[in-house]
Symmetry: C2
Subunit: 362 residues, 2 copies
């Protein structure tokens, strides 16, 4: 077994001649190194049998050396364009059906493949290729735990500084600086810092014209990336004071979050977890504030398999990590979301996030 | 003329029924707001005539409200999937040929379009759609200038702290924190901080196991994003001392950089600029260290039209911004790159970057 074996097997099972990977989470897992995503195509083709081959921009060759690639590399220069390199690859390797990562590969590369192998069938094998990332190794869990540690240290620092009158943007900038100061390699995604009615938008953008007011909910959804792995954590606090309604909503969301942890174990399905978590919210007086499912897998990508939602009967297995992030969103008023990162173990689960969840008034 | 007019015109000129935009630089320009790129398709279709229409994830609807969209919106929930929304859009709008952004749209959305309109022809209209961004408005130049100001302030702070013994990663983290402390909304791209032989890799990754040594070249290539616009600046300095060879290489790269500024004016072609800039390097004793072209357009995307390279006979027009970033890369030894951001004006050019370029020994 070498680093291509599992990918060859995916191709074989789908009746494909090969899979083609581009820089991103699967590429990084397979080759141990990632590359910038830009206008220059970089593609690795792994056939069912025989050595892989790659198209690589000439100016990346000295970085490509670090990959210790096992197959033929066809490079190309900006001045001459990339179609010649794809044609050379097509002469080198006969392909009729190829699987690609539909969530990662962009259309111009799809078109370059179609032009190089006229009549080629290009299949979206995202699900099968990404499924190889679902069960994390111990080293991968350690990297994710470090990303979480960094994230939680940063949040604790920001909590010390939050006060009425700061804008969402100012708080966001504090958070981002604290992430890097604590050792983040990158951010797992653009952070959400949302106060007041903005907290009722599941994917709010921080505003520079809204200053935090007494009684506001303040929602943080963010994460560091470390060693190629993402953290994803949400905490909602209140500033100055919390209303009775806020406290009741918070307790409801926390109960739903805890229900997810209670049920997380090998053999449970994604559907069962979501059904129980959302069930807690549905049984509350706030059922009309439900907007989202329970969560998603977490790893090299911040959203990946398994998606924790009704209708997804995928069975959870040891080594899988998912977010448990129920929320209630009252449009025009406020929202609450509480998110932990949960690892399925051999016997149950381990919650990787450790930041306190008791109702906090800053 | 409304915000869709130019996009309709692109579709008309290419003989298309519509163009489809997804979150990214063109989408942000057209709608004044951007969205997270994730596994949930969000697509706006702008037909040659009649109102636009969109497919939007249900959980984004409260953010979508902020767009004040002019057409029909078909939303979808995670639990039921997105194919129904695409089918509803297809019943609403007949399409046979559609243009997409090949550098931005991912394959799974391409497949969703092809499934909703069987037999549809999907054309890569990246060049024509992105060309609408090439001539910047004064407000856009102001945003980019702010991104550059932030970037240069951050670099000045980092220069105060660089010393022998720090790792590339430590310096990178200082730089990133300084960017956010100075007001960056995001980073324009993952920064390059490369010392010693790593500086000879045009797209190096910072290492946490390499500490800066006396005499090292130290290359910074980075930029803030502000108001949706990117800065992109490179400076190469030396730590402790600079060898005679280093000084000679630096002077050569600086002369090439200055040649680009000298020639930048409306009516010049991208080819002419690159030919002259690279010509300076080719005439030097270091011609075998050339790895890259002169530069690329800069705006909402860090790499965009016009690409400043031989063979590209695109004529430069007032309002265009490009990077002038010649470099010399001696594999296994060191590299030097100097990068400015240059605005074409009515009569010549204005260099937006102001950071000193005299040889610096920290």
């Amino acid at each position: 077994m070498d680093r291509y074996t599992e990918y060859r097997e995916v191709a074989r099972q789908l009746g494909l001649d090969a899979v083609a990977l581009v820089p991103g989470p699967n590429f990084a897992r397979m080759l141990g190194k990632n590359f910038h995503v830009n206008e220059r195509p970089l593609v690795v083709v792994v056939p069912v049998e025989g050595p892989p081959a790659a198209v690589v921009p000439n100016l990346e060759l000295r970085s490509w050396d670090l990959v210790n690639f096992d197959g033929e590399t066809f490079d190309w220069m900006d001045q001459t364009g990339y179609s010649g390199a794809f044609e050379a690859l097509a002469r080198h390797m006969t392909l009729r059906r190829i699987g690609v990562e539909g969530q990662v590969m962009r259309v111009f590369i799809h078109h370059a493949l179609a032009a190089a192998w006229p009549g080629i069938e290009i299949i979206d094998a995202e699900r099968e290729i990404s499924l190889l990332r679902a069960r994390k190794t111990e080293a991968e869990i350690a990297a994710m735990s470090e990303a979480i540690r960094i994230s939680e240290a940063a949040l604790a620092e920001v909590f010390e500084k939050v006060r009425v009158g700061l804008t969402e943007k100012e708080v966001e900038r504090m958070l981002v600086q604290a992430l890097y100061a604590n050792g983040a390699e990158e951010q797992a995604f653009g952070p959400i810092v949302a106060a007041g009615e903005n907290s009722a938008r599941p994917h709010a953008s921080a505003r520079d014209d809204y200053a935090i007011r007494p009684g506001d909910a303040l929602l943080f959804d963010f994460g560091a990336q470390w060693g190629g792995f993402c953290a994803d954590i949400t905490r909602t606090v209140f500033v100055g004071h919390a209303s009775d309604e806020a406290r009741e909503v918070y307790a409801t969301v926390l109960a739903a979050n805890e229900k997810g942890i209670e049920l997380a174990r090998p053999g449970a399905t994604a559907h069962e977890i979501d059904d129980a978590v959302i069930g807690v919210l549905e049984a509350s007086p706030f059922a009309d504030r439900i907007r989202t499912k329970t969560g998603h897998g977490l790893g090299r990508a911040v959203h990946e398999t398994p998606y924790i939602m009704r209708g997804n009967h995928q069975v959870l297995e040891p080594g899988m990590v998912f977010t448990d992030e129920p929320g209630l969103y009252h449009i025009g008023s406020f929202g609450v979301r509480i998110e932990d990162d949960v690892l399925i173990t051999e016997t149950g689960c381990r919650v990787l996030t450790a930041f306190p969840k008791t109702l906090t008034v800053l």
